[in-house]
Symmetry: C2
Subunit: 161 residues, 2 copies
């Protein structure tokens, strides 16, 4: 169904599609790791984009992380992120889209991290997502398991659809 993008998320149009590439993760409590990732942003004509991703570890080829949720346009280039993680964590963030010559930069600052009883203690997740044409780069910083807020993930993906 080809439906028009809702005006509240029109500024996010450069994100729409499927992206794949590789990323690297690090944190004081774990060994550095590399991963392959596929990301999809879709829409249904409503004021949000549906987002999901999944990664496999480069060393083993086995499924690693996944996450799914929504980017919610709230007007005047403001965006809210609501994201579920299979690790028992729900991530809420808010931020702003900056339109650039070749795409956009989206900076999202954590407003809440909710956790189930068995989830690891994650308390803050900030994200920056940048699209330049057919390249999407993101960085993610996290405060978790007693460590201060710091860099955790960076990836570069290419548009595949």
């Amino acid at each position: 169904m080809a439906v028009e993008l809702h005006p509240d998320v029109a500024v996010l149009a450069p994100l729409l599609g499927t992206w794949a590439g590789t990323g690297a993760g690090s944190y004081p409590t774990i060994e550095p790791f590399r991963y392959r990732e596929e990301v999809t942003f879709g829409h249904a004509g409503k004021p949000f984009l549906a987002y999901r991703q999944a990664t496999v570890r480069l060393d083993t080829g086995l499924p690693a992380h996944a996450e799914a949720g929504y980017l919610r346009g709230t007007g005047r280039n403001r965006v809210e992120l609501v994201l579920a993680h299979p690790t028992g964590i729900a991530e809420l963030a808010e931020g702003e889209v900056t339109v650039t010559e070749a795409g956009l930069v989206l900076r999202l600052a954590s407003v809440a991290v909710a956790r189930t009883a068995t989830a690891k203690e994650v308390t803050r997740v900030d994200r920056t997502i940048a699209v330049e044409g057919d390249v999407l780069r993101y960085e993610l910083a996290m405060a978790a398991v007693g460590q201060q807020h710091q860099h955790h993930l960076a990836a570069e993906l290419q548009r595949t659809a």
Copy 2:
């Protein structure tokens, strides 16, 4: 990729697949409505199922709600739900699976509802999901916008894949 179901979610096997059918919603603050829904439960060999659904209104045929997240098996038939809503809400619930002759009953009690700045005030969401062979029924009760916790949604879906 045909990969074996993780032991921690093996009890959830009857949920796996795609389901479609109709439901009805009501709440003191809105007009009753009916919807068509499609639900998918999948897995990647990890100790969780990926869940997503989308509904369209029966009266207009237009997209209505959507939600996406994970059912996390934590052992001994215990399950945690982490769910993102495009309405700005993240829903966390915990509960237990009861195995029945023809399927299962999963009762999930709210443990947290996190909200972005612009989301409606939802404070509690409880769910019951029952599978009997190729039929999935669910009920959802909710406390929101100052109303007491009460019935909101009921649906009956048939397995389509």
